[in-house]
């Protein structure tokens, strides 16, 4: 079972790399924001997986909860910030 968790964690990291491509290449700022949000929502699951691998779920679950909140607030703040910016098109 531990091996299964390990490989699903590795696969999740691979998917995060795919999302990172969109976050780096994305033509507009908001595309980058979507990539960052996707990475964050995968990280929340990955943290709980890591906790199961190290047999310390009780500690890692708190970190995952804090990370979910941080991701939410970061995306909201960034989208509010870029709302008033020109240059969303050319970039």
């Amino acid at each position: 079972m531990d091996n299964f968790f390990l490989f699903s964690g590795l696969y999740l990291s691979f998917l995060m790399v795919l999302s990172l491509y969109r976050a780096v290449i994305g033509p507009t700022v908001l595309d980058r924001l979507i990539g960052a949000n996707a990475i964050g929502s995968k990280t929340t699951v990955l943290l709980v997986l890591i906790g199961l691998m190290f047999h310390r779920v009780d500690m890692f679950v708190d970190i995952a909860l804090a990370y979910a909140m941080l991701n939410f607030i970061a995306v909201l703040a960034a989208s509010r910030y870029f709302q008033k910016r020109k240059g969303l098109f050319g970039e």
Binding site: D31, S41, V61, Q83
Partner: protein, 107 residues
């Protein structure tokens, strides 16, 4: 029990794969939000439920509390993900970014 956990985790991974590939493949920013918003939420739900079930193997008070915390994360993701997606869409609309229509080249 293990079979259910493995099945749920594989379903969640398929959903996450769809989310990542969809973010890469869809033509414009509005349609990229669809896989980012829905498939990630669904994948997170399935994988978190699977991990909470696996965590309940050794049944005791501590594992029950940890399972409840994982369910709390799922509830929080379900409340916050549509709100974050709506925030991003709102920023796009206010900046005057038009949606992609059929026949244009992809952005």
């Amino acid at each position: 029990m293990d079979i259910i956990v493995v099945f749920l985790i594989i379903c969640g991974l398929v959903f996450f794969t769809g989310g990542a590939v969809g973010i890469l493949r869809f033509p414009d920013f509005y349609s990229r939000l669809h896989p980012a918003g829905k498939l990630d939420t669904g994948g997170a739900l399935l994988m978190m439920v699977a991990l909470a079930l696996f965590n309940l193997h050794h049944f005791s008070l501590a594992t029950v509390l940890t399972g409840l915390k994982i369910i709390l994360i799922v509830v929080f993701v379900f409340l916050s993900s549509p709100t974050a997606i709506h925030g991003i869409v709102d920023a796009g609309v206010r900046a005057g970014l038009g949606p992609w229509t059929r026949g244009e080249k992809r952005r």
